[in-house]
Amino acid sequence: MGWLALALSLLSVWPAQAQTPQDPRKSGFAYMGRDTQAMQQDDLANPAMLTVLEGEALWTTPTGKAGKSCASCHGEARESMKGVAARYPSLDEASGKPIDLSGRIAQCRETRMEAAPLVREGRDMLALSAFVGLQSRGMPVAPPQDERLRPFREEGARLYTARMGQLNFTCAQCHDANAGQKLGAAPIPQAHPNAYPIYRLEWQSTGSLQRRLRNCMVGTRAEPFSYGSAEFIALELFLMERAKGMTIETPGVRP
């Protein structure tokens, strides 16, 4: 009975929301080949770490009229940014709308550093969001349970199950109903946003969740939402809720 007691005690210290072995949810990592998995797990072979290195340098570089860097206010990212990426998108009190991590970085730079706005999907934005994201690696996805986010999350759920494009598909038709099956030669993952920004081998570069979502939309021959649009943030809100408790892998590698 000793082992049972041990197992029970382990269960009780398990973070309330973390994944249990019985959880049917699987990270995209589980669908990858062993080589690609090894690439993600080795920080000296993961090409996304180059993006992280860039972000680390940007973190301490003063820029803009205020003459500040990210570090001037936030200090050591290892401490101050721990777990931050796990709880975005979250509510922006000023506007009453949800804001994603890239949006928050852009906002911070514009209003507090008075620096030129960072382009979404640009090198610097990806670098900073990958660097901030890394500080949450290994932590469970923890979407904020703010009642005011509920309508936006519901909108995300609606978009996830809305038919789109000439092929008239919904996200759910592939990623819920047919996850684990193949689309051509490629496995269909469950679409969990727990490793973004990722280095995608197909892109040969680092990219955000929104770039990946646009890929899927182009695939269904829908007109993709634009970067930073309310639709994408709503979708991300829903996807993060759906992946609640899963482990953050940022920066991930995907085929």
Binding site: L44, A45, P47, L50
Partner: protein, 106 residues
Amino acid sequence: MTRALINIPQKAKRGEVIEIKTMLSHPMETGFRPSSDGRLVPRDIIEKFVCTYNGEVVFSADLYPAVSANPFLSFNMVAEQSGTIVFAWTDNHGKTQVQTAAIQVE
């Protein structure tokens, strides 16, 4: 200045075969790809990689447009004496980027 990830053991025994892994942040633009305006994106690739160990070339490679972005190169060498290992990547414009690493051999 682009970034590079270099993985070498900091310490090694004399005569030991050590593995070196390098990765350079580089787009490796082939010069064959049209951009959204229809014009070709100019070629920008690393053409030569040279690794020297205390001044002596221990590994070199020629790279071509078929090599992926962020070229990853891994090779072995025999650790003979303490010193510096110099990695140099040269692109098709003749620009060379150099990184150094120290190794201690006991």
